[in-house]
Symmetry: C2
Subunit: 387 residues, 2 copies
């Protein structure tokens, strides 16, 4: 029996029907360039204005603090490179963690390699949590930016960002704090005021919006260099004709999750807990990675002993089940996950990992079907395993 079961919501979610409906007029009649002054284009401009308010409401920001981008990677790059080049005269030291998304890690590595910046990569414990004391020790008079993700894309660990911000600001309020909240958006309530961050990255396609559109929250008063220079769009901070339909879709997606983020994810969390409980009880040699307490509601991540992650994914695929061995952005790579290594897994165990990330339309039946098949697959793969 071959089902279509989608368990890779951390890689991308499907496009919500209501979001798609909201986008359609902007592919049809409302195609005007929002920068133009004639009536024809005012609808496009209004669509963007409304979306900016919807996205702002979704993270408790004001509309003037939302800058639309092409997605999470651009927002991360902008926050980090923009801060680095804007604050170079103050210092050249950046702090992040070993389990960030590559859009953060590779950007900081680039700044080190090519532009003379230095960086500290904080360790995490076996649950994936940063120790606030480690941040305290890492701060120097040269530090200009701290970038710690709100929730990890592989193991779902939610960092104590508000505490980390407080430590940073107590040391020096001029240090900017950035958080990659891509995985958190729509899955836990997000409040930039409560977090106290200066910069926050979000993207639409992890929250039932379209691919190719994201945003950077830039707190009022925070000044960073532009990443994409040119026309006057986004108040002169991000050039380029706006992806109007995409932005409108992002706004609609934000409106939807703002209304039911708690309820939606309570249901998802119950399903996830059922999945974890059955998996750990019924499959020998399976271990859950990450924190059970500080964890995104939809995320589960397992190591299955003596089984290769890729073989697992392909076997599940055979039953029509889509899951992931690591993050989508690195799944072409043969290297074990840097996140799993950072929480202390050895190379072999890290290779045997499985990420099952649930979304709002998944059901208990799907999870039970999955577990039943996983039991069979584990038996079969172990029977032929040389390990």
């Amino acid at each position: 029996m071959n089902k279509n079961i989608y368990f890779d919501n951390a890689a991308t979610t499907f496009l919500d029907d209501a979001v798609y409906e909201a986008m359609k007029p902007y592919f049809e009649g409302h195609f005007g360039n929002p920068s133009s002054i004639y009536q024809y284009c005012q609808t496009a401009k209004q669509g963007i204005t409304e979306a900016r308010e919807q996205v702002a409401a979704g993270i408790n920001a004001s509309a003037g603090e939302i800058y639309f981008t092409s997605g999470g990677s651009e927002s991360d790059n902008w926050a980090i490179i923009g801060t680095a080049f804007a604050k170079r005269s103050k210092g050249n030291h950046l702090i992040t963690t070993k389990i960030e998304h590559h859009a953060v890690l590779h950007t900081i590595e680039y700044l080190e390699k090519k532009h003379g910046f230095t960086a500290t990569y904080l360790d995490v414990d076996q649950e994936g949590l940063v120790n606030p004391e480690d941040l305290k020790k890492a701060l120097t008079p040269e530090t200009i930016l701290v970038s710690v993700m709100l929730a990890n894309n592989e193991i779902g660990t939610i960092q104590p960002v508000a505490d980390l911000v407080q430590i940073t600001k107590e040391y020096d309020p001029k240090i900017y704090f950035h958080t990659d909240a891509v995985q958190a958006l729509g899955t836990i309530p997000l409040d930039v005021q409560a977090l106290g961050v200066d910069l926050l990255t979000i993207t639409a396609h992890k929250a039932y919006g379209p691919k190719g559109v994201g945003a950077l929250y830039i707190k009022k008063g925070v000044v960073i260099d532009n990443l994409i220079h040119g026309g006057g769009q986004e108040k002169g901070k991000r050039a380029g004709t706006e992806n109007v339909a995409g932005i409108v879709g992002f706004g609609k997606a934000a409106e939807l999750f703002t209304a039911d983020v708690v309820e939606r994810n309570l249901k998802i969390k119950e399903l996830r807990d059922h999945l974890i409980n059955r998996a750990t009880a019924e499959i020998e040699g399976i271990v859950i990675n990450g924190s059970l307490e500080h964890r995104l509601p939809g995320n589960s991540n397992f190591s299955v002993k003596r089984i290769e992650g890729e073989a697992l994914i392909l076997s599940l695929d055979h039953y029509g089940i889509a899951a992931s061995s690591g993050s989508a952005c690195t799944s072409g790579s043969l290297d074990p996950s840097h996140v799993l290594l950072a929480i202390g897994l050895d190379h072999g165990t890290a290779h045997g990992s499985l990420r099952v990330s649930l979304g709002k339309d998944n059901t208990k039946e799907e999870i039970d079907f999955f577990i039943d098949k996983l039991i069979l697959i584990a038996q079969k793969l172990r029977a032929i395993s040389p390990l």
Copy 2:
């Protein structure tokens, strides 16, 4: 009588129905993340592969030389910043022209102001053409990049890019040559081999494709720094989950113009010539800006003496006619066009300019309606003008 006449195709074109149809499946079932390995996502990956071939065919490149971005501004920034940082050890001098799009000009100004680069901004003649001798004189042993647009977005002037490339490469083959071909794509045949450029910027939404997706052609062997670091997408050169539907749409748009770019634009050029002929014959004090010979088929740009451009646009808008006073990206600005100043217009005349850019669905009837109204508007505005 109020018509809906769209004469601002240089700002953005409408989305072709066939392009929209090609995109739809990727908003519906094929929502997977193309980086994932399960079957669910292979359709998304195949869509991107096919689009890359279609876009490559549209400019006579090979598919491996096409890197998808979020649009023209990102591609311009990437080409320029990526070259500057990659070739810094060779030199710090950039050459461009005074009539480039702001995505080029502001990027180079930023590199001058913040990163220690120097730049030469070449003059243009009254038709908007660069004098190849001026480029010859501007090249220095420190020069690492020449960026000259293929066709201007305001006055439609087509530069002798192949000649300029030859001059550059004769001086030093290691100097990279970039051209912004955003306005040229789909309006004149484009051939990166014939042009000889190393880097070429294109975007979908000026060629009946969607907004929010563009590409940078990077000639095989050309090495520039990344602008957006992170995941392994676009062969590790441009991170970020792909805007799959947008990319597929760009591919379809490319397929369409590749088939009929000559025929399509022959018709557009005839209409444009009719427009220019009637306007200059029937309206007193109207002057065409730019070159009649080296000009994009759909572009016309007029100065109308003793009339403010904005007043003209709003009066046309009253009749349902969408035209532009400058480029869309600067139409919020009160400064006169830097392009019109560069071709020698005084501030007052530059303020009275009108860009009428035709697309593939415009008709002779629309043009005649427009000219009739323009005659009335000119009379009326002059009657109340203090000038």
